[in-house]
């Protein structure tokens, strides 16, 4: 195990080193060198990640029958007698799995960007930020304690800010990056306060102790409550708030659609495959704690997830910007993973612990097919220079590779066998089916909607009415189509991984079998969605407009994303800027400072009134002297 801890360290060191190299010396490098440094670094990282994960799952990870946690860290900052922030690495099933996901998608994005960002100004800066992001994200998943996770959580947020605002002369990109940072920061405040509460009562930041079901924390009887809820409920709920911010759960999802202002490969990496699943990862990381200490919070998570997935799926049906459709689809799919965690139980026998495994499985498969969708969308945007569906149509002739790979990803997300999305989505539906029929119904509906809006997107891009293109769209070079094909391959094969053998909530192997009563209807609803989309969008028809008008208010509300952005603008512009800050600034200048100036004013006035007393004229002094003598004498006498 020792050498793998060392390898894991190198997985972190290489990207930060290439960030520093590109950040400090980038301006003196050619684009080619910069791209080469970034990509080579990530290639090595990917290789090391595969080695680590492979050996974890097949040799050193398993002790007896269970997959154990291995960690090593050093003390970075001493805080109190019990609490200290350590930095280190932790290898367990989910962190090893995440290593594979992050490094694969990141490598694909690095290669793809060589073509996509070719000749772009700030190419070196782009690769520097990509390396910074990879470093932060890998550090986040390898964190052995919750505080290190928070540290990298913030770093991920900043890398995301920098990459969304990559086109910094574009005001919309600047606004989007600011919004993303501030909304997630607000959520992180919850995360931080949650950590403070949790660490005060458990006296530790360490994940090993926080999730050790046989440890003392799980047998402590802390009955402290605050406003009717136990302190642990507050802690886990607030920590989930942090996760909800990053993973774009309602109502903190507003930043993600705007984040599409960033370059498309960045959206594929950060806002589809890796950073946005950090919230899911966080809940999964603390899962035993959630399950045993605060089970009702898990229920809350499940319902928030279900509401989010339904909401996002409905909105996705109405968007016309292809990246925004994918963004809402991402929100919906991540919410799916949250639901799965919410309905799961701890342990691995039977269906009890299925949700946890299904959630991680979906995270795994979703990362690849969603990255594929984004990179495919990027190839389309690259070819037609527009994000809008109405500028596309009939592109299957011009972009054959993009077309086929995109179709594979669409089939996968729609849950059609044998593509990977079918397997993972099916497990989630089974898990929900066993726990809560309302959640199941909701997720079932979402599955149908997903198939519909994905094929709406697919037909609008590749079929439908052909546009008059200024120059004929062309397929990009191998550095862009290569990653597409590789990810398509992964989308086809990853569904067959016997995931339940490797990743479960307690590390024990789990047996799963096909539950036909769930699987067949879920395929059918997917097919139904596809059929409807085919009728409406394959050939140019007016059906879609008619449907839209018949929906009336609902359609309008959905296409305005249910007015969350307007609400957000109202809260920031009117309340935070206008009401609170404006009045504080006024109060400060006029009341607090006015009081100080008033002091100066009256003491100035008073002194000019009494300055006559020291006139230096002897006669005046003599008069005052004489008068005083009389007054005193009079006082003494009477």
């Amino acid at each position: 195990m020792e050498p793998y801890i060392l390898i894991a360290l190198f997985i972190l060191i290489i990207p930060i080193f290439s960030f520093l190299l590109l950040g400090l010396l980038g301006s003196k490098m050619s684009h080619k060198t910069a791209g080469l440094i970034g990509t080579t670094g990530l290639f090595i990282v990917a290789l090391l990640s595969y080695i680590t994960a492979f050996h974890y799952f097949f040799s050193f990870g398993k002790v007896g029958e269970t997959y154990e946690k291995f960690s090593a860290s050093f003390q970075w900052l001493h805080l109190t007698d019990h609490l200290h922030i350590d930095l280190g690495v932790l290898l367990d099933p989910i962190s090893s799995m995440m290593l594979v996901v992050i490094s694969t998608v990141s490598l694909m994005v690095h290669i793809y960007s060589l073509g996509y960002m070719h000749g772009e100004k700030g190419f070196q800066r782009y690769y520097a930020f990509l390396s910074l992001f990879s470093f932060s994200m890998l550090g986040l998943v390898l964190a052995p304690n919750i505080f290190q996770m928070y540290i990298f959580w913030e770093l991920v947020g900043v890398s995301s800010y920098l990459l969304i605002g990559f086109y910094y002369t574009k005001p919309s990109a600047v606004a989007a990056s600011k919004k993303a940072f501030i909304v997630t920061r607000f959520a992180d405040l919850g995360f931080l306060v949650g950590i403070l509460i949790l660490s005060y009562f458990t006296k530790t930041f360490d994940f090993n102790e926080l999730t050790n079901v046989h440890g003392s924390i799980f047998h402590s009887h802390i009955t402290t409550t605050f406003m009717g809820f136990s302190v642990f409920s507050w802690a886990t709920l607030l920590i989930f708030m942090g996760g909800a911010g990053k993973s774009a759960m309602l109502p903190l999802h507003i930043w993600l659609p705007d984040a599409m202002e960033g370059p498309t490969p960045v959206s594929a990496l950060i806002h589809a495959a890796t950073m946005v699943v950090a919230g899911v990862y966080l809940v999964a990381r603390l899962f035993p704690f959630y399950y045993f200490m605060t089970p009702h919070v898990l229920t809350v998570i499940a319902y928030i997830g279900a509401a989010t997935s339904l909401f996002a799926a409905v909105v996705a049906c109405t968007q016309t910007d292809i990246k925004r459709v994918l963004a809402f689809s991402t929100i919906s799919q991540i919410a799916y993973m949250m639901v799965a965690l919410g309905v799961s139980r701890y342990g691995a026998d039977g269906e009890a612990g299925l949700g946890f495994m299904a959630s991680m499985f979906h995270l795994f498969t979703h990362a690849f097919f969603k990255a594929l969708l984004f990179l495919g969308a990027g190839a389309v945007i690259h070819a037609v220079h527009s994000n809008d569906m109405s500028d596309m149509g009939g592109l299957r002739k011009y972009l054959p590779i993009t077309h086929i790979t995109f179709l594979i990803a669409c089939l996968s997300i729609a849950g059609i066998p044998p593509f990977s999305g079918f397997f993972s989505k099916d497990e989630i539906l089974v898990a929900a089916f066993h726990k809560d029929i309302v959640l199941f119904a909701c997720q079932y509906l979402v599955a149908g909607l997903t198939a519909f809006y994905m094929f709406r997107l697919y037909y609008n891009i590749f079929w439908g009415k052909e546009n008059h293109y200024h120059h004929t769209p062309e397929e990009a070079g191998l550095n862009m189509t290569g990653p597409l094909m590789f990810l398509a391959l992964l989308t086809v094969v990853t569904g067959f991984i016997p995931f339940a053998r490797f990743v479960t909530s307690d590390g024990l192997k789990m047996e799963t079998e096909m539950v036909w009563i769930v699987a067949i209807p879920s395929v059918l609803v997917g097919v139904l969605g596809i059929v409807i989309a085919t009728i409406m969008y394959k050939k140019p028809t007016t059906i879609s407009d008619k449907v839209a008008t018949s929906m009336g208010g609902l359609y309008k509300a959905a296409s305005h994303k249910f007015y969350f952005d307007e609400l957000y603008m109202f809260v920031t512009k009117k309340i935070i800027f206008g009401l609170i800050s404006g009045s504080i600034a006024w109060f400060d200048r006029h009341v607090v400072d006015g009081f100080m100036n008033f002091q100066a004013y009256w003491s100035n006035g008073l002194s000019s009134k009494i300055k006559g007393l020291q006139s230096g004229r002897l006669q005046q002094y003599a008069w005052v002297f004489a008068a005083s003598v009389f007054v005193i004498a009079a006082l003494v006498i009477f």
């Binding site: 540290i151 913030e154 403070l196 800027f577 504080i584």
Partner: protein, 495 residues
């Protein structure tokens, strides 16, 4: 001779040199070299201190020596340092060093400017090396007077008004402080023996609780005014807005730290029961400072006002953490002093660079500077990230130490006020990103700005020095944290 005297003697020698030299260029070179030597000396001090500490881990202060100043009242010039003072001296020398580089472009009355600048430096260094109340007060006042002239003569905007306001308010604070110091002095003998001004000797006795309850608030307020305690902070926006760049740096970077340093070295250390009595009141005031300053910064349009309000918020956090009266929070407070000193100096330096080029400080009149002056802009982003608490830079570690420390109190009041203070991290993000978005990013606002140049060599040296220091504290916080918490032991043991 005591090694610590060097920190007064070196600036004094430089003052003589500046007075003798004729040409502005020579004066500037002397400043660069001299401040470099002071910086080196401060690192030598750290080295010597750590060595001496390894041998003697008991004495609260090292490098002790006394010179009789006025024997009738038993007033001595007593010097001595612990880890915290050493770190504050290093902070001061970094700021003096970078301030000298930033002032390299100074044009008018160069000689006089640097004379007053050095006098300010003497006041600051003197304050940190002395451990007797009279000498501390003496150096405190020495630091204040040059401010008036530096702002009034070399400032911009409503400089006379601002200089007067700043001086009067701080003088008002020092009137409270003088009362507090005298109160401590006359209660310093524990009922018998000589009265003394020496902090270490006073700490051996116990000041009667009734006296503490009178003199703690006076002393704390006196230092608190300098630490921008609400509602006595209004000198800060006006004063900073009018001050020349290097003076703003020194003032916000170091002088405001005198307030926080004094609060714990004098007020809390000598009168712990008084602190216990009044902590609720002052926690509320400092808590207000933290949030109020941050909100105040959100809508300002002048870069210096934004930074001044941000300083109110960050310095409020220093006093806030000190009043938590536990080791972790107080360690965080000192780290926050270091961190804020470096960050704010960097901010003021950058504001000076931008103002020197665009001749405006209004964020509504700038845009897209990233394209025109990339070096300055990148430094600005780094400073902003430090200010909003990005891990890896100094702001994060100090804030986290403070928050975790403050949260260790089991009662609701402390918890709630800590959470409120935590919320400042969001508001900070709002105003930092607002400025970054407005002035650095987006399209170029003014065509004339396209002709402007990026930072010069001396500006680069200053910025890079500050950034390296910020990153060093942020990446290796255990070094400063350990030095600070060791030195706090003697103070904590009295609480």
């Amino acid at each position: 001779m005591n090694f610590l005297y060097l920190f007064v003697i070196l600036p004094l020698l430089m003052m003589c040199g500046v007075a003798v030299l004729k040409q502005a260029k020579q004066v500037k070179i002397l400043m660069l070299v001299g401040s470099g030597i002071i910086l080196l000396t401060s690192f030598v001090l750290l080295y010597l201190f750590l060595q001496a500490r390894a041998i003697d881990s008991v004495s609260p202060m090292l490098f002790r020596s006394d010179l009789m100043w006025y024997s009738a009242f038993n007033i001595k010039f007593s010097v001595g340092v612990d880890g915290i003072s050493v770190l504050m001296i290093i902070l001061s020398s970094i700021i003096v060093f970078t301030g000298s580089f930033i002032s390299y472009s100074m044009q008018e009355q160069v000689k006089e400017y640097f004379l007053w600048f050095l006098m300010l430096a003497i006041g600051v260094f003197g304050f940190f090396i002395t451990i007797d109340l009279f000498s501390m007060f003496f150096f405190y006042e020495i630091a204040l007077i040059p401010m008036y002239l530096l702002i009034g003569l070399w400032g911009t905007g409503r400089k006379e008004y601002s200089a007067m306001k700043l001086t009067l308010m701080l003088m008002g604070g020092s009137a409270f402080l003088l009362l507090g110091i005298l109160g401590i002095y006359f209660n310093s003998n524990g009922g018998n023996g000589n009265l003394t001004m020496n902090i270490l000797e006073i700490a051996k006795t116990h000041i009667p609780v009734e006296a503490q309850n009178i003199f703690f608030p006076l002393t704390f307020l006196g230092f608190g005014v300098l630490g921008a305690l609400f509602p006595f902070h209004t000198w800060s926006p006006d004063g900073h807005a009018s001050a020349p760049t290097a003076v703003s740096m020194l003032h916000a970077g170091v002088l405001m730290k005198l307030g926080g340093y004094g609060c714990f070295r004098v007020a809390i250390y000598l009168m712990p029961e008084g602190a216990e009595t009044y902590k609720i009141l002052f926690l509320v005031l400092t808590g207000i400072s933290v949030v109020y300053g941050a909100f105040g910064a959100v809508v300002q349009k002048d870069l210096k006002y934004i930074n001044a309000y941000s300083s109110v918020s960050h310095c409020g956090l220093v006093l806030f953490a000190l009043l938590m009266l536990n080791k972790t929070a107080m360690t965080g407070a000192v780290m926050q002093m270091l961190s804020h000193g470096l960050m704010t100096a960097l901010f003021f330096a950058l504001i000076g660079m931008i103002y020197g080029r665009t001749h405006t400080r209004l964020i509504t009149e700038m845009g897209g500077l990233m394209k025109i002056m990339p070096f300055i802009s990148v430094c600005w982003v780094i400073a902003g990230m430090a200010s909003l608490g990005l891990p890896g830079l100094s702001g994060f570690v100090s804030e986290m130490t403070i928050f975790v420390g403050s949260f260790q109190h089991p009662d609701i009041f402390h918890r709630v006020i800590t959470i409120l203070a935590c919320s400042s991290i969001v508001i900070t993000a709002v105003y930092i990103l607002r400025v970054v978005g407005k002035i650095l990013l987006g399209p170029v606002f003014d065509e004339h700005h396209l002709a402007l140049t990026d930072a010069t060599w001396y500006e680069k040296i200053a910025s890079v020095t500050l950034i390296i220091s910020i990153a060093f504290i942020g990446m290796a916080p255990f070094i400063s944290s350990n030095i600070i918490s060791d030195s706090l032991t003697s103070i904590i043991s009295r609480l």
